[in-house]
Amino acid sequence: MYNASDLRKGLKLQFDDEPYVIIDFQFSKPGKGQALYRCKLKNMITGVIVDRTFRSVDTFEPADLEERKMQYLYNQEQEYYFMDVENYEQIMLSEDQVGEAKNFLIDNLEVDILLFGERPIGITLPNFVDLTVTKADPWVKGDSVSGDSKPVTTETGYVLRVPPFIEEGTKITVDTRTGEYVTRVKE
């Protein structure tokens, strides 16, 4: 159980049976009056942002959240399947829930799946993932429009800009937080 004085940015709470994270927090106290805790909260399932004002007498349930190590298996249309590496249980995330992460999901990739109770609601990728380039146009020397980089497509269908020397079949490391090329993988 949390008290109002525990409220701060980043704290995860549960109310109306849903998990919320505090994304903005302001303490205020009108003269001689009671403390007010004005929060912007993001629903961790729907992403909807709400404003709520709490008072010093209010108490809160911590959100029932757990992160579990899982392996990416495959996707079927808009459903992405993962397997718990401990107990081999499988879970499914929708394409919306996977979001940008779908650009980096390669077979057997180990990820952290966020569970609310038993329900999977989010995914955290490793910071760096190695992807194989499946399509790359040859570099045209002196092409001043494209500068010193060119677009390639990876095995996941993700398109990004890389240095001109990257060719089809090359393995590259990509930063999943920025989506940018980091280096060529030396094998």
Partner: protein, 318 residues
Amino acid sequence: MSPASRNNATGADPERLLARKSLLQLRARVLQALRVFFTKRGYLEVETPYLIPAPAPELHIDAVAAGGAFLHTSPELCMKRLLSAGYPRIFQIAKCFREGERGGLHLPEFTLLEWYRAGFDYTDLMKECEELIRFVAEYLGHGEVLTYQGREVKLERPWERLTLGAAFERYAHISVEEALESGRFDEILALEIEPHLGSPKPVFLYDYPAPLAALSRLKPGEDGVAERFELYLGGGLELANAFTELTDAREQEERFLREREKRASLGKKTYPLPERFLEDLPRMPPSAGIALGVDRLVMFFGDTGRIDDVVTFTPEEL
């Protein structure tokens, strides 16, 4: 732990401390200005103890316990004992301590200017407050019009005077009576009313409902209203709280007991009654007193919205 690793842990690196220098210089000049103003007017500067056996029991103000006593939440009680003893004009610039108060405008350790004057009531103090802040502005080299956080503040007298009732009528979706009954007074004051207060002119919000009067006199001939005001500047910056002081010791003791009961019913710490203050109170002349947030005054003249910018160290940096 080496000094370097301690710095890293708190983030209070020398550059950050030095970046506050111009605001700390401003702070020093504001303190000088305050002392010049009061000394010129025949006020005696006093220092009362910070460590006291019994703070005034107020529902929403929590004292920090220290060494079997409490750090004062305001120098109010000791200053009133001086008034009772025959000091008619006194001022103090004191560090005060309140538990759990931390935000953009709040520090658990902050600086209050308090002054008391025998023979004054709260309307006299409104005028003296105007004179004080105009004096500080002039001392700092400002004209009559300032900008605070993008909003204009005209210091030309007289400043606006607005009763609580009128403020609720003007800005809130319910009346002050309805707000009190539903227990939403503070919420509506903070969210619906305060942001409108103090621009383009500073405003005295006055005549508070009697239950919110703590240590102030009830207004003669007007039911349920206390002679209390708050000063707001620049769109929601609450700067000062003032009363025509209650001098009836029995009434004061009853209020303290009521506040203590309310604290207990909310599961809050209760404090011993300030007995000596109550013993001295019958000798206190009719007077008025005011507490003004010095950190916030520096924020106003330094045009910053964060109290962290006007102190040497925040609690997180210690």
